[in-house]
């Protein structure tokens, strides 16, 4: 493996917008993050926070009318040259070679990302043939090998089957096999286990960990499940309404979150032992604001317990590095001293809105 742990992907101040008759939705509104070689980075946030659009922006597959309007996506290629994916033509040859060949993506619902009228094997062969000068026979052999690599039972037989003949977990394995068939250096996974049962999820997560060890690829993992983040990632990026509100090493974020939103998320998940202690879940009041009318000032202030009613409501906080590797977008980050997961929650439970 290469010793260099420098970033292979650097996203800087990325903005992706959807211009609709009702107004402009700023799905990704100045997001920055970096991924080092072989690292697993998690992006966490609730629905509508822009985490999926961010991944699609990196690959330039944002559905119309969405457009990357500003920012840089610096991708280090195999030969160490750096290209800005944000400025490449969205259907040009270069981005198509990177897509799948260097950066692969797997999606939440494998049924809607696989072709229902082609066999699993043929779909993997197509991906291999697109970027290698291999014969169809060699590509088929490689497709079956890849299926075996993702621990698919009876790979020869599965290769000849159609997606509808497989269970959800098997389909997700097939998706991963397709993504791995071209040895990508970055795998982007958009909620890959959300549609699966916990036992199947555990199988897929174990598989992803093993493949990462074997292939040394980086993983950018989007999820809303904080348990999955804790178990899978090294660094975490928390998003709220298109903006990164906090980023840092996973242990630090769970032990001592800096942003009130991260803090509230951590304390709103039911976890073992809460009931025995007679504690109540600390819900976040209100709901995620409408994307057409994002609140002024800090976008989270209306749901925040620490809203100062002045600066939080008038001035958009900047993303600042307040300790090495720890970024936060909150005016009051230094003074709050928020508690993490392992600490008991001292404040009284919040009332319903």
């Amino acid at each position: 493996m290469i010793a260099d742990k420098g970033p292979i992907l650097e996203v800087e101040d990325l903005r992706t917008q959807f211009s609709l008759p009702q107004g402009t939705v700023r799905s990704v509104d100045g997001a920055s993050l970096s991924v080092a070689q072989g690292e697993t980075v998690g992006i966490v946030g609730e629905s509508g926070c822009g985490k999926s659009v961010l991944l699609r922006s990196i690959l330039r597959i944002v559905p119309r009318p969405g457009k990357v309007v500003d920012g840089a996506i610096r991708w280090r290629r195999k030969d160490d040259t750096v290209v800005d994916l944000a400025t490449l033509p969205g259907d040009g040859r270069e981005i198509r070679m990177i897509r799948g060949g260097e950066i692969a993506m797997i999606f939440q619902e494998p049924m809607s990302s696989l072709s229902p009228v082609h066999t699993i094997g043929d779909q993997i062969v197509e991906a291999i043939m697109l970027r290698g000068n291999t014969t169809p026979e060699q590509a088929w052999v490689r497709a079956v090998e890849t299926l075996a690599r993702v621990a698919m039972p009876r790979p020869e037989m599965i290769a000849r089957q159609y997606p509808h003949e497989l269970s959800g977990g098997m389909r997700q394995r097939a998706m991963i096999a397709m993504a791995l068939s071209c040895d990508p250096r970055l795998l982007m996974a958009d909620e890959p286990t959300t549609a699966l049962d916990v036992t199947t999820q555990a199988q897929i997560l174990a598989l992803m960990r093993r493949l990462q060890r074997e292939a040394g690829m980086a993983i950018l993992f989007v999820t809303h499940d904080l348990g999955v983040v804790a178990q899978m990632t090294e660094r975490v990026v928390v998003m709220y309404l298109g903006k990164v509100v906090e980023a840092g090493p996973v242990g630090d974020i769970f032990a001592a979150p800096l942003h009130p939103y991260t803090h509230a998320l951590l304390h709103s998940i039911p976890r073992f032992g809460l009931r025995q202690k007679g504690e109540r879940l600390a819900a976040i009041p209100g709901s995620i604001p409408d994307p057409y009318s994002v609140p002024r000032g800090c976008a989270f202030h209306a749901r925040c317990r620490f809203d100062d009613k002045r600066r939080c409501r008038s001035e958009v906080p900047a993303l600042r590095e307040i300790a090495p590797g720890r970024m936060v977008r909150c005016h009051r980050a230094e003074e709050l001293g928020l508690s993490g997961m392992s600490m008991p929650e001292p404040s009284p439970a919040l009332a319903h809105p």
Partner: protein
Amino acid sequence: MNTTPAEPILRVEGLCKHYGARRSMFQAAAAPIRAVDGVDFAIQPGETFGLVGESGCGKTTLGRCIARALDPTSGRILYKRPGGADGEEPVDLATLSPSGMRPYRRDLQMIFQDPITSLNPRMSLLDIIGEPIVINGIAKGRAVRDMVADLLEQVGLRADHMTRYPHAFSGGQRQRIGIARALGLSPRFIVCDEPVSALDVSVQAQILNLLQDLQASRQLTYLFIAHDLGVIEYICDRVAVMYVGQVVELASNEALFSRPLHPYTEALMAAVPVPDPAARREAAVLEGELANAANPPSGCTFHPRCRYRTEACKTTRPALREVVPGHFVRCHRAEELTLAGPSDYVAREARP
């Protein structure tokens, strides 16, 4: 199977729901899918009884049979209205005709998983919540409006929302609308079918807390169906774990989560990712997939995936036995195995 001396509000005996057994003119009889295959339990008034398992285990079918949204194939569903006369015999809901069922519909309501598809997009909140009130003759005209306004406020919405339509609300608010609709008939018993699965975590906590508050203020009994063990552990008093149409373990919350007795329960709990990076572990992954309910394995239906299986497990089907008072398990080896619960690995691997 009564565990406490109090009289249960609902007792399920040998309940079965089989699909596709009927033979048509053109088709030979196929093996029926045994979605629910002989379930027994009793639910006490005022408790939250959890039903947990993987998708396809039959938990939703069971919930729908109890609410009589589906007709069970066989078995009894004995319902006893709380506060009824002393000598009153429980009614078997499973055999009631649609009209015979009507008086009990008011008592038994249901909350659904998907708050988008379970609300009619062409009806205003007044119509959605008011319709069951009118149909059941509880109120008319002006009084319906007042009741709907009151219900909306009880679930944390505003009375002036009643003229709006479901699309104007977020997922969490829609789930509140579904709860208000269920409450309109002053039910005693609510089947909650994955009520928070489709919601974001921040909103999920609001709905769970709301359900708890309503239970306390209205003396409700819940059958709470979920696949998320964290949610189950937070809200349920007793829990039944289902696997391929059968209950494999049934115990109080505390007993189940501190010392599970069935290998499947242990495996389910071990598969849940712990939200603590310090307790990171390579979970013992449960191999394989849920068995086919049309052709379940011989012996114990879990044996092909079980790491503790013996020869007897492959041939003899275990019965649901009371191993410790109030703790039922369907496993031959329940007494000899020492299985781990979440408290074990969280405590063992947490930071010093």
